[in-house]
């Protein structure tokens, strides 16, 4: 199975290169597609300079910032164009430890979709821990899907399920939307435990993003 690792990047000039290098080290057969989502720092230049001669790394970019969900969609379009059969998304900021990629690949042989989950212990900020739990419970009740960590962006899927989980969210909310579609379409999935790493307090899903996601839930519920 030809698997691509998709790394959406937005203003990650300090960490993106390290993340891609770690991914490349985990498995020699893995190819990485980096999508720079209109970064306003030097992420794109730094990535291009570092991986110009590396045939395992494909770099593309959005001319303007569209959001993580949109960058992920571009990544998968490129992966399919290059003959990919499955893909795994890894955040560029180092939140997702690539050492778990072999586990994801193993699970993707058995299940069409694989989600990562973090142990939401006391190390996680209170609001994130409880917000995640509440959202997980709500999605579970409404869409009949039990997820251990609804907001984890470390996930992968096989090409054949894309039509069923095709997401519309451009920004954060894509993981939740995907979970609702997995529940609605009764797609079998597996979950892989990953490390809980919080790098940047002011990045990732903020309370406002969480509220926006909350408001979208009725839309996803009635949009059958």
């Amino acid at each position: 199975m030809k698997i691509f690792i998709i790394v959406p990047v937005y203003n990650e000039e300090k960490r993106a290169v390290e993340t891609v290098n770690k991914i490349l080290k985990t498995d020699k057969n893995l190819n990485v597609i980096v999508i720079d989502d209109g970064s306003i720092d030097n992420s794109l230049t730094i990535l291009k300079n570092n991986f110009r001669n590396n045939s395992r790394v494909i770099i593309s970019s959005h001319v303007i910032n569209l959001g993580k969900g949109a960058a992920m969609k571009t990544g998968f379009k490129i992966a399919w164009k290059l003959g990919g059969e499955a893909l795994i998304f890894v955040d560029a900021d180092g939140q997702h430890n690539p050492k778990y990629l072999p586990r994801f690949i193993e699970e993707l042989q058995k299940y069409p979709i694989v989600f990562g989950y973090r142990e939401l212990n006391k190390n996680a900020p209170w609001i994130r821990r409880n917000g995640n739990k509440f959202a997980g419970w709500l999605i579970g009740v409404l869409f009949n899907v039990k997820r251990k960590d609804l907001l984890c962006g470390f996930l992968g899927f096989r090409k054949e399920v894309y039509k069923k989980i095709k997401w519309e969210s451009c920004r954060y909310g894509i993981e939740t939307e995907m979970a609702t579609k997995v529940g609605r379409n009764k797609i079998p999935f597996s979950e892989v435990k990953i490390d809980t790493i919080y790098i940047d307090k002011y990045k990732g899903v903020t309370i406002f993003d969480a509220l926006k996601i909350l408001f979208k839930i009725p839309f996803w519920y009635f949009n059958k």
Binding site: N53, S55, S60, H62, K73, K77, I78
Partner: protein, 113 residues
């Protein structure tokens, strides 16, 4: 604030809007028809602001006590309509922009050997 003060404020607002529309029309931001349509709307607005009593038969019919209440109800209805329309248009624009940006991005991919 008595009714005359309120009428002056409404008239000033209508003149300001008319001037703004005129500038956009001169810059060709809006078509002749659209300009005439908005001018007509603001002329109706001015007419009602000067002669609010012409709405009294309608107020009785709708069991509304004051012209102001009718104005508020009308305003909310119009604003709701405009908000929904704008929301749909913005959403459609976002989708078009996203598709365009993605098309450029996918096209840019070069396979290294």
């Amino acid at each position: 604030m008595n009714i005359i003060t309120l009428q002056i404020i409404l008239l000033a607002f209508a003149i300001f809007m008319g001037y703004s529309l005129f500038l956009h029309w001169k810059k060709k931001d809006i078509s002749n028809n659209l300009f005439l349509f908005w001018i007509f709307i603001f002329l109706v607005f001015v007419f009602i602001a000067i002669f609010p009593k012409i709405l009294e038969p309608l107020l009785k019919e709708l069991f509304i006590v004051r012209v102001m209440d009718l104005g508020m109800i009308g305003t909310f209805m119009i604003l709701t309509y405009i908000t929904i329309e704008n929301n749909i248009k913005i959403k459609n624009l976002e989708i078009k922009i996203e598709k365009l940006v993605r098309k450029i991005s996918v096209k840019k991919v070069k396979i290294k050997k």
